[in-house]
């Protein structure tokens, strides 16, 4: 259940950058092989966000497919598991994507947007 701690980090990062203004939407990028369950993050998010500027914000999670480049034949391939070998059979590869765990962006709530624009 490291998702609780991770969600606390997510909310803290957004709150730190929101400078006290209410936030309406938070977008995360989570790689399919990041070792983090999107559902668990969703489950924790509302609870963790409660009482913060992030309370009530919509959580959008963009899943990033896992891609790797084979160290033997150089082909790029999609991975369903962390250790799926290259179609050529080789097990040495460089992971290109799929382990992301990022706060991509967030949106301020409408009312604040106007004051922020002044």
């Amino acid at each position: 259940m490291h998702e609780l701690g991770i969600t606390q980090n997510i909310v803290a990062i957004v709150a730190d950058h929101a400078l006290g203004k209410p936030v309406s939407r938070v977008t995360l990028e989570i790689g399919q092989l990041a070792g983090v369950m999107s559902d668990a993050i969703r489950f924790c998010f509302d609870v963790v966000a409660k009482g913060t500027v992030v309370e009530g914000a919509t959580l959008e999670i963009r899943e990033v497919p896992a891609r790797a480049r084979c160290s033997d034949c150089g082909v790029e391939f999609t991975q369903q598991t962390l250790y799926q070998p290259c179609p050529c059979g080789a097990r040495n590869f460089e992971r290109l994507s799929g382990e992301e765990l990022n706060v991509k962006e967030f949106e301020f709530a409408e009312t604040i947007q106007q004051t922020a624009a002044v």
Binding site: Q8, A12, D16, Y83, E107, A109
Partner: protein
């Protein structure tokens, strides 16, 4: 409860120095700026997140961050890593399921190799100083980190532990993580290598069940091999599984209880410590 991020005071971790008996709290989520200093300067554009404020889209009210969620931990781990390198210290992060024999392996290693290496230990557990006391009895300086509700050690906990422990130049710092094959894989502590310990009383498919951990480890220790005749554990299959997940993993088969197979592990530690020393400022 903290009103900015919602983190709970109950999540507080503690460090116990077994040498002095001193117990101190680690601020919950020390990485959250608001705990450490006021907002008047925490959003000062001179530090880490200065770049992100530049990306506010004029009318859209969207702030692009592209910030790694574990960035703070990664930064603190990098600091630990530089600290170790500067002191020519070999730091190992020992991970396993509960009961695989991490503490027994450490006790035995400390006792057998105390003339060859200078060991310092950071013990991680959710609660109690039981393991810390065992390490102390084995003869190594030790600090016990209790993570409270946390299921893994984080880089700031290790940093706080090191402040108490003060490991010497050229020493070996063994960080015994909380018994858990899931979460510790995500949290870099600044170690030189992760050592994953699997005992033959567990399943031989654990490497493929917990691939993150076995992929991030440099060493797999197969412990309790003295029990092989009593269990259905298939050593060959287990190593095959480990190599499927991590082709470059090095495997040691041993029994921390009987001492069988320990020499190869001791040799690896000695070689790794020597190469840390040789690579310093290389």
């Amino acid at each position: 409860m903290c009103t900015t991020c919602g983190c709970s005071d109950g999540a507080k971790a503690t460090v116990i120095n077994l040498e002095t008996g001193k117990k101190s709290d680690i601020e919950a989520h020390q990485d959250h700026n608001h705990h450490d200093h006021g907002h008047d300067h925490s959003h000062d554009h001179d530090h880490s997140h200065d770049h992100s404020h530049d990306h506010v889209h004029a009318g859209g009210g969207t702030l692009t961050l592209e910030q790694a969620v574990l960035q703070k931990n990664d930064e603190l781990a990098a600091r630990n890593r530089a600290w170790f390198a500067g002191r020519e210290i070999l730091a190992l992060n020992l991970v396993s399921s509960p009961g695989a024999g991490k503490t027994t392996l450490l006790e035995r290693t400390i006792v057998d190799r105390k003339d060859a290496e200078s060991f310092f230990v950071v013990e991680g557990d959710q609660a109690t100083a039981n393991d810390g006391e065992r390490i102390k009895a084995a003869g190594a300086p030790v600090v016990q980190v209790n993570t409270g509700t946390g299921c893994h050690l984080e880089a700031d906990m290790v940093a706080r532990g090191l402040q108490e422990l003060k490991p010497g130049i050229g020493s070996v710092v063994m960080i015994e993580n909380v018994g858990n094959l899931v979460c510790p894989a995500l949290f870099d502590l600044g170690e030189q290598a992760k050592v994953v310990i699997l005992s033959v009383t567990e399943g031989d498919d654990k490497p493929v069940k917990y691939p993150h951990m076995f992929q991030s480890a440099e060493i797999m220790i197969l412990n309790k091999i003295d029990l092989l005749e009593h269990v259905d554990f298939d050593v060959e299959k287990c190593i095959e599984n480990a190599k499927a997940v991590n082709p470059s993993i090095t495997v040691f088969q041993l029994s921390a209880r009987t001492g069988e197979g320990l020499d190869a592990w001791y040799q690896w530690v000695a070689d790794a410590r020597r190469s840390v020393k040789e690579s310093a400022f290389a």
